[in-house]
């Protein structure tokens, strides 16, 4: 039962991600597209450092550890 709730929340978050992704491409949408979000992060003086570190950490954690 506990895991069902956990997976349900993850599923909702995943669907929300897909929903935002789709909405950002809708005509007239003011929501930033994923590429624009990435660009904003990559051009932030501190955020870009966090972005590179996070990307490296994710890869190391997933494939090497």
């Amino acid at each position: 039962m506990t895991s069902a709730i956990s997976y349900a929340v993850w599923a909702v978050l995943g669907l929300a991600l897909l929903g935002l992704w789709a909405r950002s491409y809708a005509p007239g949408s003011t929501l930033a597209r994923p590429g624009a979000v990435l660009e904003r992060l990559a051009l932030g003086p501190f955020l870009r450092i966090a972005l590179v570190l996070a990307w490296g950490w994710v890869g190391w954690h997933l494939f090497a550890r």
Partner: protein, 151 residues
Amino acid sequence: MRDEERPGARQRRPRDIALVIAGAVAVAYALVGATTTAFSGPADILTAVPIVALVVLVVIRWPLHPRPALLTEEGTHPFRAWVVLFAAVVLWELAEYAARGSRADHPTLSSMLDAVNRYYVLKALIFFAWLYLGGAIVRRGTPKRERTPSS
């Protein structure tokens, strides 16, 4: 009008070729990377190489003092929903990580991806997605006049 007669067609062709080559290299690298086992030397090396490459590219291509483009119109909040979703994911990840009980009862992103990584094709897809994201990070931080599709 034939394709080669269109303005910019000649410039586009080498870029398209570079894009195809970069994509093919990333696919091949992901297919090889997915064959490795975590906690092994080959896995360390095949994961470290893209990380080092990205850091080198970032140092070479990104400006020292970036100027964020003005992406927002007055009165709009184009990033708010993304920030809220990111915060929700982080909070739920932390809650699951700290929860008492087995990881099966409280799955985290890592544990779910570990389960997916047991399948070669899925692991190769995730490895490719990681490489693609790295390329996109380098490209998005590069000033637009210097961008090429291969970066």
